[in-house]
Every structure is written in C-alpha cells, then in structure tokens.
C-alpha cells in the first residue's frame, strides 16, 4: 500500500527520497511550460534523454521536465544541477554539446548563457539573472524545480507536510485563525480577506459544503494561473484539502478552462496520484476527514471566471452571474455553503501553514500581504511571469525586472488587471503595487495581467480594443453592461474614425459611470475602467482625435496617411512589390503612395529598410 496515514510516514518517505537522490548528481531540468514548449522544449528534453543514453555515460544523470520557470522570453530554458547553470534559448543542435561539455567536463558553453542587456555581462546562474533577482518567488518557487507529473518530486521538496501538520495537530479554528492572521487576500483579483471568507463558510450551518478552485483565467495576456496549474498542481490540491478540512467540506471542484489542456492533464494526474497516496479520499491522515476533488472544464466564456457564473456553470446552467446579496459562502453551489478561491490563493495556504502566519504577514504592505504574481507582457524586453512582494513599485517591475521598453522606446502606459483594468500613465510609475493603490489609480489587481505599452500606442485604440473584447464576453444579462458597453464602443469607434463630437466625451464619461454603478456583477462593474482611466490620464489624446481629427500615435487608420520621404527612398521597390493595393507609384527615382488607393495596412513600412515610409 502506498497510502500515507501518518505525518511520520510522510517524513520517512521524504527522507528516503532525498537519500536516494544524490544531491551531487547531475540533473538537467528542461522547462516544458507552455512558452518553452512552443519553442520546442519537448523535443529538446527528449534529445537529452536520447543523447545521455547514446553516449552511454558512466556517471548517472537525471533529466527532468519541469513546469514554467517564468522567463518565457528566453525559452527554452534549462537548468543544470547541481551547479544550477542556467542556459537559455537552447536549440536541438546544442544538446550533444551540452552533454559532452557541461555535463561530462563541467565546461560552460558561453553562447548559451544569458547576457544582461544593461551591463553586457554573461550570467551563469538563474538567480543572478536580473529578471529573477528582484523577484520573491514563493508561490512559484518550485515551478522550475519539480516534475509536475510526479508526486514524489513534490513530496521531496516538503510537499503535503502542511496538510499533515494541519490535520494532525491543528483544529479547524486554529487553521482559519492562522490564515486570518496571515492577512492572505484573494489573489484572483478581488482581494477579499481569505480567512474571513473561510470563517463565515465554516460557521454557516450545513452538512454539505463545497470548496472550489477557480482556474478559469480568461484575460488576454494573463497566464499566471495557467503556469501554476501546469507546473505545480499539487500545491493547489494541498491548499484545497487544508481549506476543505478547516471549513468542513467533503467535495471540491477545480474549474479550469478547456483552453488549458496541459493544465487539465497535469491536474488530473496530480489528483490521481494524490488519491493513490491517500491525500485525497477517505480518512485522510487517519482522521475522520474525507475529501475528493473533481475537475470541471469551462466552456470558453470569460464571464465564468466570476464566482456566481462559475457556480452556475458547474451546476450545468447558463454561465451568467446572479446578484450576490446572499453570499456564495452562505448559499453557493446547489444552494449549499461554498468557499471559492483562486488557485493562487489555494497554493498560498500550505506556505502559511508551514511557515506560520507571522512569516507571511511580514511580506507586503500594511493592508496587502504576501506576494503578487503578474504576467508581464507587451513592449518590455523581458516578458514572463513575475512574482514580487505586494508594494513593489511599478517601475521596479517594468524596468528592473522587465528590463525596460523594447527598442529603447518611451514608456506610455501600463494596463494592469486584464480587460477590466485601467491604464496607468508614466507619472504614476512609482506607484506601489497592491490592492488599494491600484484601485485608487483607477485600475485593479485583477488576474495579474500587466500589459506595457510604448509611445506607439494610441490610447483611444486601446480602449476600443478592450471594449470590443468585453462586448462579446459580457454575458448579456443586465442592461447597463450589455447595451452600455456596446454604446461606449460605438462612441470610441467614432472618435477613432474622426467622427467624434465634442459632447461625446461627456456622454462616454456618463455611460462609464452608470455602467460601473448599475451593473450586476464584477465584470460589468469594472468594464468601464479602461475608458475611465484613459479619459482621466489621456484626455488630451481623445481631444486631439475629436478636435484635430489626428491620431498622435499614428494608429487610428482613418486619421493617418502614409507617405514616402523623398530623400530617404532609394527606389528599391521592396514596398512596391508587397503593396496589396498597388497604391505605390514608381515614376522617377523615388516612390509615392496614392492616398486614394492606400488601405493603411502598414506592409510597406515594415518592408522598407531605409525608414523612408512615415505616417502623419
């Protein structure tokens, strides 16, 4: 029997695992997270295995496929233990060389090392890469260290010990008290105090209670939940089991979107393994506590990430929110008390139980404790997953971790919190990132998306893009959200097309405020954030569109014109060949663009090697 019934049994297993795993043994850890996978890391991992077999090495070498390291920009990334050498952008053809040089002789291959763009120095270890240096990886700590499909890996790094501690030595009250004291807040974006939620759910009378893990991450540009589910599924399960024990629930659900096949696969493997080892099932750690988890796949609606819509979706109903005047913790799934938390919140629970509430409460700001995970994307040099203590300044994230703006351009705005978040301008770059500050600035923590925009971004166009996303992702139940977003989009589209009127901006403001006030659920209440924040910080840009019929960033197609600089054009004809409209004439030495034919697709500008094509 594999089932582990006592904390001693778990410790004995961990010790035997650690003994069996010689810490001096070489180990190649290849990231097979989604980002690296797209760049061919699965083939690289396979090649390592074959190469090691082929070279018939005398010293034993492990290859391990781990989850996302977070530095997706440089994928595929590999780390070679025990020296923890960090190689990036590893190609298939590099594999034999790595095996024969680094693994056998300990030589470093220079060209695979990461080069710090600011100092030009080569970096040998992962933790010395500036991208990681300023981070505090807690929830994501084990992402690049363990094989997500092997429970023993998780146990070897101390997994399930928080569960053993909680069930065998702590009462429900103590566990909830610890979580309350830690100051943990919902990391799905709303920031509701987790302990308080658990307390209410625990107190509500009822024999049947549920816990739900929300992994329905639908924001464009956010991938933190995905990465966690793919790389360290057991940490989520452990947190959920502890929570269920404290609250008194016997059934859990993990709601994961169907668009995350790898996360679904890894979670299912994790659940099966946890059952095998007795962490799920009946009489967990020989207590009277039974608990099991089932995965539910989301059907692709963004709104199903909202708790009441998610509950409706699990019940098999149309995924639309309901008014939460009676909270989910009192009447949720099938009208029973239900405690719903984001997967990142659940994964924080074992850390708090292991290290204590005070340890957690020390991290972060006065009101926002712990760490925040951001999916840093857009026009920054280092895109990837970033975990920083709450209260870290925006500029630290964008410049120190993100490595600044691409191609040395100028920063314009950063949007946090997905489509319902707001755009934060340059003057607020020293804003410290926590739940309160972001809300004050007109944005929100949300799902942890962080989209950086440079000077070539038109804020009217940004508002238009997110409104377009939201008009199809609104569930359509309540009038302000459904009709209001459509009308806001109509107005913004008009402004972008140069048909805007002066009074449009006031109407836009009025609409946005009403939608915020009158909508039914969180999606509607936050939907106008992009419009409100761009109106607040970039009003001048709207005015230029309306008054002068010009787009300063040169993005809005109806307001710009492409033209060729005579002194720069060499008459090479590159643009001419590619123009789908035959709008470029080649009379004489230089070319000219016929504005009547031009559809402003920008192909010519991309094709020009002499920067001769401009927008006005």
């Amino acid at each position: 029997m594999k089932k582990i019934r006592t904390p001693q049994g778990l410790e004995a297993l961990q010790n035997s695992l650690l003994q069996r795993r010689d810490s001096n043994k070489s180990c190649v850890r290849v990231c097979i997270g989604t980002g690296c996978r797209a760049r061919g890391s699965v083939v690289v991992a396979e090649a390592f295995r074959n190469e090691i077999k082929k070279q018939n090495l005398e010293i034993p070498i492990d290859t391990k496929q781990t989850g996302c390291h977070g530095f997706c920009e440089s994928g595929p990334v590999i780390v070679i233990g025990p020296r923890e050498i960090f190689y990036q952008r590893v190609k298939l053809r590099d594999v034999p060389e790595i095996v024969s040089k680094t693994l056998l002789n300990g030589e470093i291959i220079d060209r695979l090392l990461y080069v710090d763009p600011t100092t030009g120095q080569k970096v040998l270890y992962e933790h010395e890469v500036p991208f990681y240096e300023k981070q505090r990886r807690q929830i994501l700590a084990n992402n690049g260290r363990i094989d997500p499909t092997d429970i023993l890996d998780y146990i070897a790094v101390g997994g399930y010990q928080a569960l053993a501690k909680a069930i065998t030595t702590m009462s429900c009250d103590e566990i909830i008290g610890t979580v309350e004291k830690s100051g943990l807040r919902g990391l799905g974006g709303a920031g509701f105090p987790t302990g308080r939620k658990w307390r209410v759910c625990h107190k509500v009378p009822g024999d049947v209670k549920f816990v739900i893990g929300n992994g329905d991450e639908g924001d464009p540009g956010a991938f933190s939940d995905r990465s966690l589910m793919e790389a360290n599924p057991h940490s989520i399960l452990e947190g959920m089991i502890i929570g269920a024990y404290a609250i008194g629930a016997n059934q859990g659900y993990l709601y994961v979107r169907a668009e995350y096949p790898l996360a679904l696969k890894h979670l299912q493997i994790a659940i099966d393994q946890a059952r095998e080892y007795g962490f799920l099932g009946s009489k967990i750690f020989s207590s009277g506590f039974d608990f099991d988890i089932k995965i539910i796949q989301g059907g692709g609606a963004f709104v199903c990430g909202e708790s009441s819509a998610l509950v409706a979706s699990i019940e098999g109903k149309v995924g639309e929110p309901r008014a939460k005047y009676i909270h989910t913790v009192e009447r949720g799934l099938w009208n029973e008390p239900t405690n719903l938390n984001n997967v990142k919140t659940w994964a924080s629970v074992p850390l708090i139980i292991n290290n204590g509430a005070d340890w957690y409460a020390k991290i972060g700001t006065e009101k926002s404790k712990g760490t925040a995970i951001f999916s840093l994307v857009g026009k920054v040099n280092n895109t990837g997953l970033v975990e920083v203590p709450m209260g870290t300044q925006l500029k630290e994230i964008i410049y120190d971790i993100g490595g600044g703006i691409l191609e040395g351009k100028k920063f314009k705005a950063v949007q946090t919190g997905g489509p319902s978040g707001g755009c934060i301008p340059e003057e607020l770059l020293d804003l410290s990132v926590d739940f309160e500050r972001l809300t004050e600035a007109g944005s929100m923590m949300g799902s942890g998306g962080m989209i950086v925009m440079d000077e070539d971004t038109c804020m009217v166009d940004v508002a238009r893009y997110f409104l377009d996303f939201l008009q199809y992702e609104s569930c359509g139940k309540c009038v302000p959200c459904r009709e209001g977003i459509k009308r806001m989009l109509e107005i913004v589209t008009n402004i972008a097309a140069g048909r805007g009127k002066k009074e449009d901006m006031d109407l836009l403001q009025e609409l946005a405020e009403t939608i915020k006030d009158f909508s039914l659920c969180g999606l509607g209440k936050t939907a106008p954030n992009t419009v409100l924040s761009t109106l607040r910080y970039f009003r001048e840009e709207y005015e230029t569109h309306v008054r002068d019929k010009k787009c300063p960033a040169g993005i809005c197609k109806d307001l710009i014109e492409y033209f060729i600089l005579e002194d720069k054009c060499t008459g090479c004809g590159a643009c001419l060949k590619l123009c789908p409209q035959q709008a470029i004439d080649a009379y004489g030495l230089t070319h000219t663009i016929d504005p009547a034919k031009c559809i402003k697709c920008g192909i010519c500008r991309d094709a020009c090697s002499f920067e001769a094509i401009m927008v006005k």
Partner: protein
C-alpha cells in the same frame, strides 16, 4: 417583522420580503421591466436599483432581489438613482424605439432625448417570457442563447419546439411586443405624449385645448384663436 427606513419613513416589513415589494406596498413607485409578482426575480433590467445604507456603506442594489434587513436606510429616488435609471432607459429605447412600454416610461421619467444611434429590435432580453414558460406553464420551451451582443431568446437549436403548446403566455407577458407606440412620427423619436397624468387643459384652461389622439394619449394643442 423587520423595521427599516424607506425615504426617511420608518416602515415595517415581513421578513424575507424584497425592497421592491415593501416599496410597492407603501405606494412608492419603482419602475421595473424584468420583474413580475409571480415569477422568480431576475435582476437584469437594473431599473429598480435603489440606494441602501446598511450602516457601513451606501451602495446601489437591485430592489427586486435585495431582502429587507433590520435598520437599513433605503432611498428609492435619489439623484444618482434617477440619473442611472434614465440612462438605462435611454439605452433600451435606442434598442427598441417602438415599444409603448418604454415610451410610456420615458414620458414618466422625463426622458426627452436619445443620444444614441437608433436600432430597431423587438426584444429587450428581460427574460420574462422564458421564466413564464418554465415556471408558470411548466414547459421551458424557450431560453437564452449566446452571450453579450449575440444573446437572444430562441427555442433549442432554433427548431419548432415539441413541448411548446402555443399557449401564448410568453406573448402575454412580454413588455415590448404588446401594442406598439403610435405616437412616434419618424423612426427613433421620443413620443413623450403618453401618460400625462394631469391634463394640461385643466391647468391652463383657456390657453390650450386637449384632445385624445389615436393611442389614447392626451395631446396638448394650442387653441385656435377665433
């Protein structure tokens, strides 16, 4: 019994009743479009929003769903509420300009201008018909399909429903399809002639005369000077 304050007046209400029920019992008129006494409240039209102060904060709630609580202070017609209601109605009229129900409400609430491009749809997606069908007729032949801008009420797979008995209850309860407003002359304009409760002629006797036009509304016309 629960005691609460509504528009400054201390009122009694039965436990488990909604704010809307209490308000209507005491004669306070709160407009609704998706609410019906005999159907499960849905909270979608957002016209019934009221301001509730529960001692900690003031927020807007849908009165058709919010249950009475001891000591709360409710205001049903504040400036914030009225401004929002008007805009929501404006959005709805822009969607279905021909609906008499909406035109009536517009007159009543003093909405005199629609600032959006007019559409010409028939359904405001209040969901009364499908709740009527499922809850009162025990059928459930129609439902919502799609989300966001693509939401509509149809039968499953858009095929003739086998369980529909053609009882007509959905049409009976629909607030929009019933008699269309005949007061509007060009598409998209606001009629604003219905529901003038006090006939103008009674106040300005001698200057105006009042006729009943084709839809039964009281229309003010200048008296011809003989």
């Amino acid at each position: 019994m629960v005691i609460l304050t509504m528009n400054g007046v201390r009122v009694q209400a039965e436990e488990g009743s909604t704010l809307l029920e209490v308000a209507r019992f005491y004669g306070i008129d709160i407009p609704t479009l998706c609410y019906h006494d005999e159907l499960t409240p849905y909270g979608a039209c957002r016209l019934c929003m009221v301001e509730v102060d529960d001692g900690r904060r003031t927020r807007l709630v849908a009165s058709c769903l919010y249950l009475v609580r001891e000591g709360i202070k409710v205001k049903t017609h504040t400036e914030r509420v009225m401004k929002g209601r008007k805009l929501i109605l404006e959005l709805l009229i822009a969607r279905c300009p021909n609906s008499k129900t909406l035109q009536d409400l517009a007159s009543k609430m003093g909405l005199d201008k629609v600032r959006f491009k007019m559409e010409n749809k028939d359904c405001i997606l209040c969901g009364l018909c499908l709740r009527m069908c499922a809850e009162q007729m025990g059928s459930g032949a129609i439902g919502f399909v799609g989300r966001g801008q693509k939401r509509e009420v149809v039968t499953p797979f858009r095929e003739a429903s086998e369980i529909c008995r053609n009882c007509g209850a959905c049409m009976y309860i629909c607030p929009v399809v019933e008699t269309q407003c005949r007061g509007i002359k060009s598409p998209g304009e606001l009629c604003n002639s219905c529901l003038i409760i006090t006939p103008q002629c009674s106040e300005k006797y001698g200057q105006v005369m009042c006729t009943l036009d084709s839809c039964g509304a009281c229309v003010e016309k200048e008296k011809k000077i003989v």
